[in-house]
């Protein structure tokens, strides 16, 4: 699984830290407490080699459980419960290795310690509290049986049994609950952070959409307002000058509508839309293209198309429109019978013009920076 979410990554690191801590506690306990108890109690065992074998069995289970816990892709061959039963067998083996009188001494380290193994065996399971409870109960029963066989069910020994049992259970269950709580807190924090980031992104997108709308509104206003104002003030619609101004405004509005359409080639799409509108006015337009338009930003497209659009809008009867595109250059030209006009000079593009033989030639070019 690849994790790309930074928050999730942080949460996973927290999880890893708490599992490492659990593995370290188990190893430290087994090496720092169980091993010295075995060595110091060596002479008190009936069968010291059995105690050693139990210690080794405990170690093997511990290593296997640790490897599985630290590598989430791996699993114990038969699941955690057979390993837990083996741990109880090791526990019983230590009890059996002890002489009856030594059952309640430190030499019988198994029953107080196997809970740590259970901690890491059941760690990844959702049902870990129940599993741990069942295991603790089984462990207590094994020990009680051992005490009964050793004839140690005196009040004093029962008292000591309860103290050790509760002491170890509180430590082991407490460690598990604490670490799992820590893990949960990290995941909550990650979830919250992700929700917050999503909300922020949505807000930014909404702001961007709003800003775009304002910008487009301003452009639409700029395109249409002057000519509408002139008409409102009583300008004569049959005046050629007013008609040209209307045509230019209409072409600009058309461009605004077309330029945000989702088309594979937005520049050509916008150009075609404008040509289509102008043809409807009875102007014969010949549109020729050569080459593939590279991806260019919206502002550049707007700047590039501005002068040709006005020339097209002002064409009286005919226009030849060409679009030549290479990987790093786009050139739009219009050759038409429009009258000469004041050329717009948008930023970032080069506009050239020439009048000859009654035809107006306009070229608008953009070269990749």
């Amino acid at each position: 699984m690849t994790v790309t979410d930074p928050e999730l990554l942080v949460a996973q690191r927290y999880s890893l830290a708490s599992t490492r801590a659990a593995v370290t506690i188990v190893a430290a306990w087994h090496l720092g407490s169980d091993l010295p108890s075995t060595i110091i109690g060596w002479s008190t065992y009936r069968w010291p080699l059995l105690a050693l074998a139990a210690w080794i069995l405990y170690s093997v289970i511990g290593v296997a459980a640790s490897v599985v816990l630290l590598n989430p892709g791996r699993k114990l061959p038969f699941g955690p419960w057979p390993a837990a039963v083996l741990a109880l067998v090791a526990d019983a083996a230590v009890i059996i290795a002890c002489r009856p009188e030594a059952v309640m001494t430190a030499a019988n380290w198994g029953w107080g310690s196997v809970g740590w193994l259970a901690l890491i065996l059941f760690w990844p399971r959702r049902t870990w509290p129940r599993d741990l409870g069942v295991f603790f109960l089984a462990n207590a029963l094994v020990m009680l049986a051992g005490m009964a066989v050793a004839d140690s069910l005196h009040q004093v020994w029962i008292g000591k049994f309860l103290v050790v049992l509760f002491g170890s259970m509180v430590l082991q269950a407490g460690a598990s609950a604490g670490a799992h709580g820590f893990d949960l807190a990290a995941r909550w924090a990650a979830d919250n952070s992700r929700t917050l980031a999503r909300a922020e992104a949505a807000q930014r997108a909404a702001e961007q959409v709003h800003a775009d709308r304002l910008r487009r509104y301003a452009q639409a206003r700029q395109a249409a307002a002057p000519v509408l104002t002139r008409l409102a003030e009583g300008a004569n619609p049959s005046d050629p000058d007013v008609r040209h101004a209307c045509a230019v405004a209409a072409a600009r509005l058309r461009r605004l509508i077309a330029e945000t359409d989702d088309a594979p080639n937005p520049l050509l799409h916008t150009l075609r839309a404008c040509v289509f509108d102008i043809e409807k006015r009875g102007v014969v337009v010949h549109l020729l293209t050569a080459g593939t338009v590279p991806p260019i930003p919206l502002e550049v497209r707007q700047a590039l198309i501005e002068a040709p659009l006005e020339a097209l809008a002002r064409a009286r009867t005919q226009a030849r429109v060409t679009l030549v595109a290479t990987a790093n250059q786009v050139i739009i030209s219009v050759l038409s019978d429009a009258e000469e006009f004041v050329l717009p000079a948008p930023d970032g593009v080069q506009v050239a013009t020439q009048v000859e033989g009654g035809l107006l030639w306009i070229e608008s070019g953009w070269t990749a920076p």
Binding site: L288, A290, R320, A327, Q329
Partner: protein, 235 residues
């Protein structure tokens, strides 16, 4: 082609499946005051035209799409027989144009520019002289820009671009601050550069030979273009 051709009209064979287009070609030929071209055969398949009276045509005017089939694949065999082929079509995308030229056709005319350029093209091709229609000019500019080692000079490119944009040669000359003859030379030289790439054909050889005779290029130029073409520089 030898000098005697100066004294008689160019013999043209037209391969076209639409009678209305054929009628249009006939009217342009008839309207030429100098009567430079004569249609000696016409038909809707290559066989019908070339196996009959069209066998000695100087130039074949070939519609690229006959009865719904593209004729690009037939052009190399015609050129290998030494026939001069002028292709005309409604298709005007640069890929089609370049494929037609690579196949060996002398010129490509779109149906939109036929009226203005058809006769001029046929006469130029009959004399083994290059003729570049505006559509071809656009295709050459784009093709040259997309090669690893462009062959066109900046001035040749500018002349082709203005020609594609629809200016006449006089306007191109004004724009570039040069004479009309120089504009013509730039455009024709660009065509020659691209004629010397791709598949060899007798028609290309005569085109190049005539270009050298006319002083448009030198033999050294041809070797240069061919070595570039051999490197796979052209698209």
């Amino acid at each position: 082609m030898d000098r005697e051709r100066l004294d008689r009209p160019v013999k043209l064979a037209v391969v076209e499946d639409l009678p209305v287009v054929l009628a249009g070609v006939r009217s342009w030929v008839a309207a030429d005051p100098q009567k430079r071209v004569e249609i000696i055969a016409s038909g809707d398949t290559l066989e019908a035209v070339l196996d009959g009276p069209g066998a000695d045509a100087d130039v074949i005017l070939l519609d690229l799409e006959l009865n719904g089939v593209l004729m690009i694949g037939r052009i190399p065999e015609l050129c290998a027989q030494g026939r001069r082929v002028v292709v005309y079509s409604v298709h005007e995308d640069e890929e089609t144009v370049l494929n037609v030229l690579k196949a060996g056709a002398a010129t490509f005319i779109t149906k939109g520019e036929s009226a203005e350029h058809c006769l001029e093209t046929i006469v130029a091709v009959a004399w083994d002289r290059p003729y570049v229609t505006p559509t071809m000019a656009g295709a050459l500019v784009v093709a040259d820009a997309s090669t690893a080692r462009p062959m066109l000079s900046a001035r040749e490119r500018e002349a082709l671009l203005l020609w594609f944009q629809g200016m006449n040669k006089q306007s191109v000359a004004t724009r570039m601050g040069i004479s009309e003859a120089t504009v013509k030379q730039y455009i024709e030289r660009a065509r020659i550069k691209y004629a010397s790439t791709g598949r060899a054909a007798p028609t290309k050889t005569t085109l190049l030979a005539r270009a050298i005779q006319d002083g448009l290029i030198t033999p050294a130029d041809i070797i240069e273009y061919q070595s570039r073409a051999a490197e796979g520089g052209q698209s």
